[in-house]
Symmetry: C2
Subunit: 751 residues, 2 copies
Amino acid sequence: MPQRSFKHVGRDVPRVDGVDKVTGRARFTGDIVLPRMLEGRILRSPLPHARIRAIDTSKAEALGGVCAVVTARDLWGMDPFYNGRPVVAMDKVRYVGEPVAAVAAEDEHAAEAALALIEVEYEELPSALGMDAALAPGAPLIHDDAPGNVCAHERVEQGDVDQGFASSDRIFEARYTFPMVYHYSMEPHAAVAWYGADGIDLWSSAQHPFLVQQDIARIFGVTRSQVRLRVSYLGGGFGGKSYSKFEPLVVLLSRKAGRPVRLCLSVSEAMVTVRRHGATVNLRTGVKDDGTLVARQAEIHLDTGAFTENTRMVAQLAATRVLGPYRIPHLRSDVYSVHTNAGSAGSFRSVGAPQTMFACESQMDEIAADLGMDPVALRDRNLLKRGETLQPKLRPVDVDLQSSLRRLVAGARWRRRSGDGKAPLGMACGSTNAGGQLPVSVALVRLGADGHVSVMAGSTEMGQGVKTVFTQVVAEELALPRDRVQAVSVDTTVTPYDHSTGASRSTTVMGRAVQAAARDLKRQLRAVAAKAFGVTPGKVKLSEGRLVAGEQVMSFTDALACRFGAIAGEFVGRGTMGPEMVRWQTPVLWEVGMGVAELAIDRDTGAVSLVSYVSVADVGKAIHPLHCVGQEEGAAMMGIGHTFMEQMVHDDHQLLNPNLIDYRVPKFEDLPAEFHTLLVENRDGIGPYGSRGMGEGGIFSVAPATVSALARATGVRIRDLPLTPERVWRALRDEGEREGSAICPHTPPVP
Amino acid sequence: MPQRSFKHVGRDVPRVDGVDKVTGRARFTGDIVLPRMLEGRILRSPLPHARIRAIDTSKAEALGGVCAVVTARDLWGMDPFYNGRPVVAMDKVRYVGEPVAAVAAEDEHAAEAALALIEVEYEELPSALGMDAALAPGAPLIHDDAPGNVCAHERVEQGDVDQGFASSDRIFEARYTFPMVYHYSMEPHAAVAWYGADGIDLWSSAQHPFLVQQDIARIFGVTRSQVRLRVSYLGGGFGGKSYSKFEPLVVLLSRKAGRPVRLCLSVSEAMVTVRRHGATVNLRTGVKDDGTLVARQAEIHLDTGAFTENTRMVAQLAATRVLGPYRIPHLRSDVYSVHTNAGSAGSFRSVGAPQTMFACESQMDEIAADLGMDPVALRDRNLLKRGETLQPKLRPVDVDLQSSLRRLVAGARWRRRSGDGKAPLGMACGSTNAGGQLPVSVALVRLGADGHVSVMAGSTEMGQGVKTVFTQVVAEELALPRDRVQAVSVDTTVTPYDHSTGASRSTTVMGRAVQAAARDLKRQLRAVAAKAFGVTPGKVKLSEGRLVAGEQVMSFTDALACRFGAIAGEFVGRGTMGPEMVRWQTPVLWEVGMGVAELAIDRDTGAVSLVSYVSVADVGKAIHPLHCVGQEEGAAMMGIGHTFMEQMVHDDHQLLNPNLIDYRVPKFEDLPAEFHTLLVENRDGIGPYGSRGMGEGGIFSVAPATVSALARATGVRIRDLPLTPERVWRALRDEGEREGSAICPHTPPVP
């Protein structure tokens, strides 16, 4: 394929939201002020599991400045559940922090004073924190319709796994655990709702505006068109702002108060609103002596918390992602989502992957060590080739994984640094089925009479740079100076449908819709110019905002004048993407993330830190290389968080570390001296110009590469995260007391 | 053509804005409240013509609560003119009421107090009120670039008018005058501006939102896309809210204050902001003895006031409209727009027609009387037939005027009531070149996942019912229940370009764009269903929100699911109208208005009133018959206003009647007992379903029909409006002192 040269794509153009953000001018949802707006606050359960006997709101309602107090009584006649959550607790509470009532008042002081005056009579019930407690015989039942507290079971299967293990030369089996972690966006969730006479106006920090619109419409019995959801800038999403989170409660408050209501969660509230699923992964892998994978069996438990949310999808993805990017003839993975009396888990950057890839890639390293193979060679032998299928229900792998591995090995100087095999060096690699489950995006690109172009696309700008990318794509397609292209912010009345912002799909799917819309616009412009020039449309080229055929030139504004008889009117280009873009299969794309970690280990204290982390992302084609690198490095930094320090710590159901002091996230000083991401660009992605979804793949290789580096240098394999100094120190201390690795390879049983 | 039957079109469905309006829930521009919004007030010139020597705003600025005071100093470096007006007076003032400064303050009291503290030093200049003064030799020059105070001269010419008169048997000549009148919308002009960091947000009572957007962008040096103009409900437009009127001044205030500013004009302010052109029409017509028109010459002077506004267009239209709907081989009309020291004139329902049709149709009646012909017969002989041209530059007449005349004669029982020819019965008929000068409208019709449809069309709902019409058209095209269609309000960021709301063009031009968009959407739906059904798209019918082919049925939501794999996504239909719809000619349409008036005359007091007024409007096809009748009767009621009572009265440049007490508009008790409009529906219009622009034609026949009725009954021809009792009484008193009609027919001079 001839390499097309680009003018806007592939360049590190300034972010369109950059000046707004660095000058503090950018408006986030919490900055919104509406006339007569009230402040909302939520009363939350102090108990992990209890029946609500009675709620007396009369004293709160009588307080000056209080305009509305809502409880489950205000849900009468409605369908009050979304993603398994009630708008506000009905008969029971199921976690510490569950909303029991909410108040809208003239200011936050009145709202908080009112919370203290709401009297709730609870009947405490036995509770279960953690999956062991929830799965124990006789455990308290958290939902009647989830016997044994299992709310979802997903299985992926191929071949005959028993026969596969029977025919393996060696079998490896171990249990890996991954803690509950929190996204820690700089901006907690915020919403402003105005239940007006004409419909419901809602501003929300939403990654899935059209799905929130749909929930609100259903819950409040109005049409979707009557719900207008706007999204200001987001201070980080990472999946935590996917789906509705608390918006229906804010709408309910506004409906009752008859005034607009703003409700911004605190960090501690946001932390009980959404988090990543804690997980245990029992993983068993059978290999031939030459390292060829033969069979894999996984049993995964995900700590879903009190409500299901999207746990079925997380379970589906985990069931596949635990397999890694490898050719495995016989496989079975079972994922069980488990209710516990904790806040609910939801989407989090590379859903289900960090937990399962930690197990998968740790075990791959254990296998390599046992076989005496280089970890790279083991991967190389088993890595899927482009066009192969991981399992028959999925779209074949659409990426050249080998080229990423080669790039990683070269870029991280693997061979030179691995030396005698005892260096504190580890690697991991993965490819995830990404892009979301429904590649549906519609975009409009409008050329107005001033020659400026508006991109109407419903993707949330949450820091990932999607607005900038859309302006690059449109400027490229229309050969326009980029400052003549603006991307409109999400507004469900303005911007056409987009299924979601997440799953590495915005550049890929919406980007394609935007590109298609720009091309549709280009066709119209060319047709007008061709007619005026007396040539065929194919002869008309676009260049610097002008239409050119030989000596003949017209500006876009001239084209409008030709079409409309004056500098008036507009051209509207339309682009629609649907599942046909992937022939109705999933995944939309295979995302790639690989990394090599080198450690500094203090054997006396157990303190482990990264000296180097080099990662590779196959982005197909980097539309904005600096953004790509920034996102991949950001993902790796999040991976450093759950690898070394992050975990939500509970004591008797109470979250002990709901703030930045106690819940440590990586600081820049936690980054290794060598820290960079290498981009692979084979222009073979399904997105515009061969781009591929990215920004998530950087997160999941950090932990397995790190524990493998530790194991390589010390012989100690840690299978539980995070690698706190205490945990490492204990493991090193116990080293002498054990024989080799924790789980020894053994010969397969005779079938 | 087979008569298609309709389900939504042609029915008097409830207005979509009806409930909002009768419950008081409808929000008008003045109801808008933004956070930190200031109130604006304008300091206006007390002098008709003066040089501004100095303005001292320091005391005003020092007043508590005052946030910004703007004067021409704040225009530095800008292009501060729009439609000939400066944003705020520069070196001179040219009418009593011209904005000299403006204030934005915390509330209206502070703003008004501040106005009183602004010190302006004027050097008074000689001034000219009225065209006689402005055109007199040595008159003060109001603008340097308009010598003789004439700012526009438009001529329409055909044949050889001198030879035409030479070959005429009789020539009639007279002078007719028409007063300055005001639109008197219930809502005066209002705007809210917020000059923010991201661009300019503007809410305005604008009939031409996209033209206002364009002005603001140019004046403030930003792109059109950076100006977001939204239009709430309008409390009446009638042309008075065409183009920018004072919006740039509100934006200027907001820019200086750094906060949003609301500025609502009072009635007295609105009356000096825009009005109809007062006019004198010298009209000369040559006829054969059989009544055949041979030649017509007109000289028209329009009182434009201080600034040109759109006077060139008004002059162009007046030059054509004075000719009436008649076949005239030889014609010449000259229109001169004259600057005077009065507030500027602008668009007003049926621009230029009431003034000129008053002359034209009065003179036609005079000719009939002189020839002893029935007025109907004279019209019938000369009326243009469909396909004939009034003058070669115009599109041929696209309407069957004869059928309207027949309908009028029958509906008004003309022959029976005209009796001996002395009954106080008069008629007039006209057809105007309407539809505006640029038929450019773009619409989008979006079908969302809830099966509801949004119409995105930039036409202002100002009471004329345009939103209701669009929902009817879309419901008809898509065979949807009408409550599943909503029309979005104007928002330049949301609704695509529409050139203007006015000139009877919204149903016609934008209606066609909306219809085209709905059909584009229908094609997409049919294609999806056809594929699912395994039939050709032509076999798929739409019925009640479903797609049907034989036994196979799917809902629109099913079609979305088929296309997108889930109840997700959306279909976007696009419709674009441009000048090609009329083959790049004007007018877009010929609008028809005819009427018969019967009077009660009190010869003792001169009081004249209507006993009956029956009018005819050829609407092609009434999309909403009740709206059509309501608009035509409303137009006739406005005609009753300028015929009997309305005129702006000045005393030494001071408007004496800037309120509803002193400026009388018709009340319902002023309406005749018999008052109705008959609709002609030949389905031959250029709008959707053969509809034709309407709503203006009702205004211009009232005055000539009334004076003709008076002349028929009394022999007295009054050529000056309004017909106040005093004017009628004086004319009747003078009757005996004169010989016959004021201007006698005479034989043509020998060439």
